[in-house]
């Protein structure tokens, strides 16, 4: 039977790829839908509220209800809008966000990789830079003031933050010596050191730029409610609005997945080379069991009988799944997928966390952060990385490289801080106004 499957894969590579694409698409849609719910819930908990509670137990069916509502809503095209552009703009956004997932490796085996481009990293940068068209064109085609302002802001913002993000990625490239995402993870595996430990500054820059590029708090100026109602998608409604919504959350998942692949070792288990930590391999079934326990605990307290039985069923399902996963063959098979997903979810949680924590930047602050801090930092990081790699020579020791990189990163941070902060225009303006 196994041979048959291999035969099938060899005979129909396109069909297999198509099946993989459909699976990724479906899973991703589910993740995105529940990401919305998770955001609402987490925000609510952080603000001592309950969040959605009506549809299903703890609002678990809320995404389905929202989706249905948006699908049934009227699709309004404003008078004076550029109809064609107005219609395709959200589609561009979604397509650009989803396409990149074709090159993300979810695991080491070829079954978990849709395609391994040897210019994968460039492909990622290229396609994700297309998403901006959805925003600009949508804002412009609406023929309305708020959307136009929102899209102008977002164009400036995305172009500004693409530069530091790109340069942070080049740092990874230098360290891993490849443009293929699979090879980048493999390089982290063979060196035994995730890129985060070699490029802490690069990761920080990438993270900040990623938040800015996804238009998330604290960089959500293109859709700042208090200034621009809803920004570039003010005039959108119904299904097309849902597309924009999906694109935003998909790109969040995307940048998280990218950060994981580039900096957090992709599908690798933390400390994969340390034998003493091998018990971590049992985390997948254990975590499933924990989920089962928590769900069962809450199911007992649920007053609605139907919901109660549903939750019990979920808990039982999880427990059974944990049992399946605990089978030795399965447990090795699910390792990569589990760790990849866990890391991505951790970063996604961070996205929500920022939203609850940070106030929105003012526009000049946004530009200041991008141009006066991130770009010099990213440039310095690039130069320092190249110098350290040149100094260390081929096949340097792991610790030597780590400490050299750490020192270089610190040096860059300090030098740039001194140079940029030395006489920043804001300080000068304050001096001028106060006369001191």
């Amino acid at each position: 039977m196994f041979n048959d499957a291999v035969q099938f894969v060899e005979n129909y590579p396109l069909l297999v790829a198509a099946i993989k694409i459909v699976i990724v698409f479906l899973v991703l849609s589910g993740v995105v839908a529940y990401m919305v719910l998770a955001e609402r819930k987490v925000l609510a908990f952080m603000q001592a509220r309950l969040g959605p509670m009506r549809v299903g137990p703890w609002g678990l069916f809320q995404p389905a209800a929202d989706g249905l509502k948006l699908l049934l809503k009227e699709d309004i095209i404003p008078a004076g809008a550029d109809k064609f552009v107005f219609l395709i703009a959200p589609v561009i956004s979604v397509v650009a966000a989803f396409t990149v997932f074709a090159v993300i490796p979810y695991g080491p085996s070829s079954a978990l990789i849709i395609t391994d481009l040897n210019v994968g990293l460039l492909f990622v940068v290229a396609v994700s830079s297309l998403g901006i068209y959805g925003i600009i064109l949508g804002g412009w085609a609406s023929n309305s003031h708020y959307p136009l302002l929102g899209s102008l802001r977002s164009a400036a913002q995305l172009v500004s933050y693409e530069i530091p993000a790109g340069m942070a990625i080049v740092g990874v490239l230098l360290v891993s010596n490849s443009l293929s995402l699979v090879k980048i993870v493999e390089a982290q595996q063979s060196s035994g050191l995730w890129n985060f430990f070699l490029q802490p500054l690069g990761f920080l820059i990438f993270l900040i730029a990623a938040v800015a590029e996804t238009n998330r708090n604290p960089f959500d100026l293109p859709e700042a409610e208090s200034e621009l109602t809803a920004g570039f998608h003010t005039e959108y409604s119904g299904f097309r609005f849902a597309l924009y919504f999906m694109a935003e959350y998909t790109s969040m998942v995307l940048v998280s997945a990218l950060a994981v692949v580039l900096f957090w070792g992709g599908w690798l288990r933390p400390f994969a080379s340390v034998a003493a930590l091998d018990f971590l391999n049992y985390l997948p079934p254990v975590s499933l069991l924990m989920i089962a326990g928590v769900v069962f605990f809450f199911a007992r307290r649920n007053p609605v009988p139907a919901e109660k039985w549903f939750l019990v069923a979920v808990a039982a399902g999880s427990a059974v799944l944990a049992g399946v996963v605990a089978v030795p063959v399965v447990i090795t098979a699910v390792q990569p997928i589990f760790w990849f997903t866990a890391k991505v979810f951790a970063l996604l949680y961070a996205f929500i966390w920022y939203r609850a924590t940070f106030p929105r930047y003012r526009y000049d602050q946004l530009m200041n952060v991008g141009w006066r801090w991130l770009i010099p930092l990213a440039l310095g990081n690039l130069i320092a990385t190249a110098c350290v790699l040149w100094w260390a020579g081929p096949n340097p020791g792991r610790l030597k490289l780590f400490f050299a990189m750490l020192a270089a990163n610190l040096a860059v941070a300090i030098v740039v801080a001194l140079l940029v902060g030395w006489r920043s225009p804001t300080a000068a303006a304050v001096e001028k106004q106060t006369g001191s």
Partner: protein, 169 residues
């Protein structure tokens, strides 16, 4: 055979969208068609196994330059532009120049191999890292032009800042 038909499709799309670029009255539509053109040219690069060129084409032209085009166009009043005559008065001269260039190109193609020195088309294996090959040529054989080009870009930046600065202090 497959490659040839893909090339033909891409070429037709590139050319026809190029025509659309100059015939649209609305500059935003022109930009959209230009993006289509750039994409199809990128596809032709890909067909030649030049993945790096493809990626750079998309990143720089589609993802960077065209966004700035749109940015500028959105700041002008599209309605007034759309009302103006689409071609300047020199269109006849332009057409003449285009015809001359086209004739010349056809002549060159007609003369074919004997008129141009065509290097043997190299087919790197698909798994060969195209990017490395490009970097090797760029930083070995063409090191000097690359370095001068970096100065050129610096000057362009200094000049742009100088022209755009609000006032001298």
């Amino acid at each position: 055979m497959l490659a040839q038909s893909v090339f033909l499709i891409l070429a037709v799309v590139a050319l026809s969208s190029g025509v659309m670029v100059i015939t649209r009255r609305n500059p935003v539509h022109s930009v959209i068609w230009l993006i289509v053109t750039l994409f199809s040219v990128g596809g032709i690069f890909l067909l030649q196994y030049a993945q790096f060129l493809f990626a750079v084409q998309i990143i720089l032209y589609v993802g960077g330059i065209m966004v700035l085009y749109l940015f500028v166009i959105m700041l002008i009043r599209v309605e007034t532009v759309a009302k103006q005559a689409p071609y300047s008065r020199q269109w006849a001269i332009g057409l003449g120049a285009v015809l001359v260039l086209a004739c010349e190109l056809m002549y060159g193609v007609y003369k074919g191999v004997e008129s141009f020195h065509l290097g043997t088309p190299s087919r790197p294996p698909v798994d060969m890292n195209n990017t490395e090959a490009v970097a090797g040529v760029l930083y070995n054989n063409y090191m000097l032009p690359v370095e001068i080009a970096s100065l050129l870009l610096l000057v362009a930046m200094v000049g742009a800042v100088l022209m755009a600065k609000k006032r001298f202090e």
